[in-house]
């Protein structure tokens, strides 16, 4: 076990706290000190709440000292993506239109973190309204990849992935609409899981695309993600799409870490051509590790995946154009009056505000969605996309007849350079090609580090997909792979990342 509190895993911290070896205040302070030292270089946070986190830590320490029965993770700090409402803490969704907004309520997920006694360190950076794959669309400037500060940390949850990869937090919450937990995990050498759609409440999660959005855990180990998953999952009467069924036994599965007898399906359409050779090589090695662990490999084909990206980029903007209509300058957020207009109307103020408050990518998607839903084009675009969505769900159902889980590289490439794809929306969108199908079908997915690509020495991710409500299988496979790879590497992959302390100074 490491003695550096910032490098300890959440499971290790929980044990240290439970044994009384350290206090939550000490852990929280160590992480805040690390943030003070390195966040100038990585820009993982939009808002750090040192005082609040230390206050929560002190309270947990007091309750523990009083002999109260506490949650296993009580006192373990966590960072939260800035798309989740946090009472008394700014929530901006990475957008100027919400700059300075302080929600009067907590998202259910945040309530659960608070109830578990987990100090909230702050709010992590993200692409504006979760639209992007690089965090470059944040109105407050991009986050950077701790492995190479000139590269993207993934998106839209690049803040949540980089905060974990740069040892500023053992755990973070992300949201995944088309891969925004898994792709950032892949390119930063961390673990990220998208639970089954409806497995974690979306109440208080500012909606991008309601039928696709799903919050989930980011961490440095598979067990840590499972532990956090168990805290936030479960039915919520405040969310009508929340699944009213027992949470899969994710922690037990992660501890078991067993793939013997499991059928692993390699999705033909999500490997090979179009994937960076180094990423593909790490994927094939990972598959071999699973075979060595007793798994059987089958190849499956999901022919409709060819259309997944197109369907996603119609469904998402359509839902986003509707969801973002609430930013109308009337009840909260920015209000801008048009120049040179005396006594402007509400409509004119709304249009001026939305031009000033939304960034380019958000405008692009709102207008695309408006087009796709408009009279005369609805059937050709949105209607066709919904039918493709059904085909994709059918492909998954057929694939899961033959395999217990499906696997692929998480992202086609390692982290690209900041600025490289900013002016080419389609190139940016292609980065989510392997993660999007799971969101369209609502199934859970996990990304585990598979090693460093030979070409650039940057992390690659291994994706595991399971049927809806079989999230436990992700953790069984992920933990088994992680154990074998960590043994092969002689330690965690992140130990090889730059320390950043010198760069930040």
């Amino acid at each position: 076990m490491t003695t550096d509190l910032t490098r300890a895993t959440a499971a290790e911290l929980a044990d240290l706290l439970g044994a009384g070896t350290v206090s939550s205040r000490e852990v929280t302070q160590a992480l805040l000190d690390r943030t003070a030292a390195v966040d100038g270089a990585v820009h993982s946070y939009l808002h750090v709440d040192g005082e609040g986190a230390l206050g929560q830590a002190t309270e947990v320490d007091r309750r523990r000292a009083a002999g109260e029965s506490l949650h296993h993770l009580a006192g373990v700090p966590v960072a939260v993506k800035d798309v989740l409402a946090t009472r008394g803490l700014p929530t901006t969704c990475g957008s100027r239109i919400l700059e300075g907004w302080v929600p009067p309520y907590d998202a259910t997920l945040v309530t659960r973190l608070r109830e578990a006694g987990m100090p909230i360190l702050g709010k992590t950076n993200m692409d504006e309204f979760a639209m992007g794959s690089s965090t470059e669309h944040s109105a407050f400037g991009p986050s950077h990849n701790p492995w190479d500060l000139d590269r993207i940390p993934g998106g839209s949850g690049g803040g949540s992935s980089s905060v974990v990869a740069s040892f500023q937090a053992p755990l973070a919450i992300g949201t995944d609409t088309g891969g925004s937990i898994r792709q950032p995990a892949a390119v930063t050498g961390t673990v990220g899981a998208k639970p089954t759609y409806g497995g974690v409440s979306r109440y208080g999660l500012v909606a991008l695309a309601s039928s696709l959005d799903q919050a989930g855990p980011c961490s440095r180990t598979v067990l840590d993600s499972a532990l956090l998953h168990a805290v936030i999952a479960g039915h919520d009467p405040m969310d009508s799409t929340s699944i009213d069924a027992p949470v899969p036994a994710v922690v037990e599965a992660a501890r078991r870490a067993d793939v013997s007898g499991m059928r692993i399906g390699i999705v033909k359409e999500l490997t090979g051509e179009g994937f960076q050779p180094g990423v593909q090589a790490r994927f094939e090695e990972a598959v071999q590790h699973l075979v060595d662990g007793g798994a059987e490999v089958v190849e499956v084909s999901c022919p409709s995946f060819t259309y997944a990206l197109a369907a996603y980029y119609l469904i998402l903007p359509s839902e986003a154009s509707s969801n973002l209509a609430k930013f109308d300058a009337m009840r909260y957020g920015l209000r801008v009056s048009p120049e040179g207009v005396d006594a402007p109307s509400a409509e004119q103020v709304m249009a001026a505000t939305r031009d000033a408050g939304f960034g380019d990518e958000v405008k692009r998607r709102i207008i695309l969605g408006t087009y796709a839903l408009s009279s005369g084009y609805y059937d050709a675009y949105y209607g066709s996309a919904q039918k493709v969505r059904r085909l994709i769900a059918n492909d998954f159902a057929a694939a899961f007849e033959r395999a217990d889980v499906l696997v692929s590289p998480t992202a086609p490439t390692t982290a690209f350079r900041l600025g490289d794809k900013l002016d080419d929306p389609m190139a940016m969108y292609l980065n989510d090609i392997a993660t999007i199908p799971a969101n369209l079908a609502g199934i859970p997915g996990l990304s585990v580090p598979s090693g460093l690509a030979d070409e650039d020495g940057l992390p690659a991710g291994f994706q595991v997909l399971a049927p809806a409500m079989a999230d436990d299988r992700l953790y069984a496979v992920g933990a088994a792979l992680e154990a074998r790879l960590t043994a092969a590497w002689g330690g965690p992959l992140l130990d090889r990342a730059p320390d950043l302390t010198e760069v930040a100074r």
Partner: protein
């Protein structure tokens, strides 16, 4: 599929209540054209006789008992408003002056 013109984008921006500048309009015509061409491929999928799927899980209407419970206090609900007056949201004029 119809090519998107500058006038089309301006019309869509109007529907979406976003005042785009001339430069933004010029740039967006090109970008949206490329994106639309890519996403139009959904029509090439074998989708005849396929039931559309709007949501990944079966959606049922959810109701709760109609009981009074705590809600946001007026000052909390109004705390983030750009402008308030007499404990209400103050909004720009909604009706025409004539």
């Amino acid at each position: 599929m119809a090519d998107l013109t500058r006038a089309d984008v301006a019309h869509l921006a109007g529907l979406a209540r976003i005042d785009l500048s001339d430069a933004e309009l010029d740039r967006m015509v090109g970008e949206l054209g490329v994106i639309l061409e890519a996403v139009a491929t959904v029509q090439q999928a074998p989708i005849a006789d396929v039931e559309p799927m709007s949501h990944p899980m079966p959606i049922v209407n959810v109701t709760r008992p109609d009981v009074v419970r705590p809600s946001l206090a007026p000052q909390d609900a109004l705390a983030a408003a750009p402008e308030t007056e007499q404990q209400r949201f103050s909004v720009p004029r909604i009706l025409d002056e004539e």
